[in-house]
Symmetry: C2
């Protein structure tokens, strides 16, 4: 799951693209939804998109490119896990600085509500997905640390980033280039 | 390359998604453009999208999901080959009935111009990409039949359809579901 390009602090929406991957190799499906920039609908909209997908029953784990999508629309991974019944693994390639995030949130309405969602992501830990490469940083809900590590290593077939997230990023970026043009439809 | 969903005979545009694939396994990039439903801009817009892509110099062959995108916006694969300097392979999973195509074109303006583009696709031949599966149907420009057959077999890693085209179809369908919503952006 990854978000597309957007104008920060605008009253607009950003597409979120979900890629269904079989292991670290085969793309089995693509789905998309919209969330509000700096809004509060990421958890609910992503949850609905997954539950309404024809692939829902085959999905074994949800992977997110970080917990903040579309600016500071924070995904509450505990709630996403509860709503979908699926384990959630959020991955970032750089170590997030939680103090900076907390400070940035104070510039937005309902900053405490957002901070609660950030805290719900729980312990941040690092994982080496491929030998000799830099670690990735991980938060989880509904899955044990050793199993999450195993899933991340198995799916990082092309780079240190799990393949579903690498592809979600490429698709979200590739289609977002035309969002203004798509408005002509 | 594949087109997304659209309303037939509407005065609208349909997204065309291009997937950059490394062999039959790795997705390396995603790009997109828009073409007019039943229009005449498919060849030019796809050519521009490819030439302007940062991947252009790495692309070795262009694959198309058929030569008619967005209704009867026909891709002239000879012209696409000439404009991009790259070989073009158009693939369909069912054998196209050229007589039916010719008859259908007569309901559209400039039907002869469209028919010339269809004829420019040259000889239609069938290829067995995976043993024991149904054939696919192929038209080419700027590439010999044996080399095209080799490329098609090498890239059909997951099904009888070459993997770049299978993925382009999934992405184009997955993002098109929200084209009306995306108009809010």
């Amino acid at each position: 799951m990854d978000d597309g390009k957007f104008v920060p602090h605008s009253k607009s929406q950003v597409p979120v693209v979900g890629i269904i991957f079989r292991g670290g190799y085969w793309l089995d499906g693509v789905m998309s939804t919209l969330i509000a920039v700096d809004g509060f609908d990421a958890t609910e909209n992503i949850s609905k998109m997954i539950i309404n997908s024809p692939h829902y029953r085959q999905i074994r784990v949800i992977m997110l490119n970080g917990i903040t999508l579309g600016g500071f629309n924070v995904v509450d991974i505990k709630a996403l896990n509860a709503q979908t019944g699926l384990p959630v693994v959020a991955v970032t390639s750089k170590k997030p600085n939680l103090e900076e995030v907390h400070a940035a949130l104070k510039n937005l309405p309902c900053s405490e509500e957002r901070w609660v969602a950030v805290m719900n992501a729980g312990e941040l830990f690092s994982v080496t997905t491929r030998d000799g490469r830099r670690n990735i940083y991980v938060e989880t809900a509904g899955i044990s640390k050793p199993v999450a590590e195993q899933v991340l290593r198995l799916t990082s077939t092309r780079s240190r980033i799990p393949e579903p997230l690498r592809v979600a990023h490429l698709v979200a970026s590739g289609i977002s280039l035309n969002t203004t043009l798509v408005c002509n439809l």
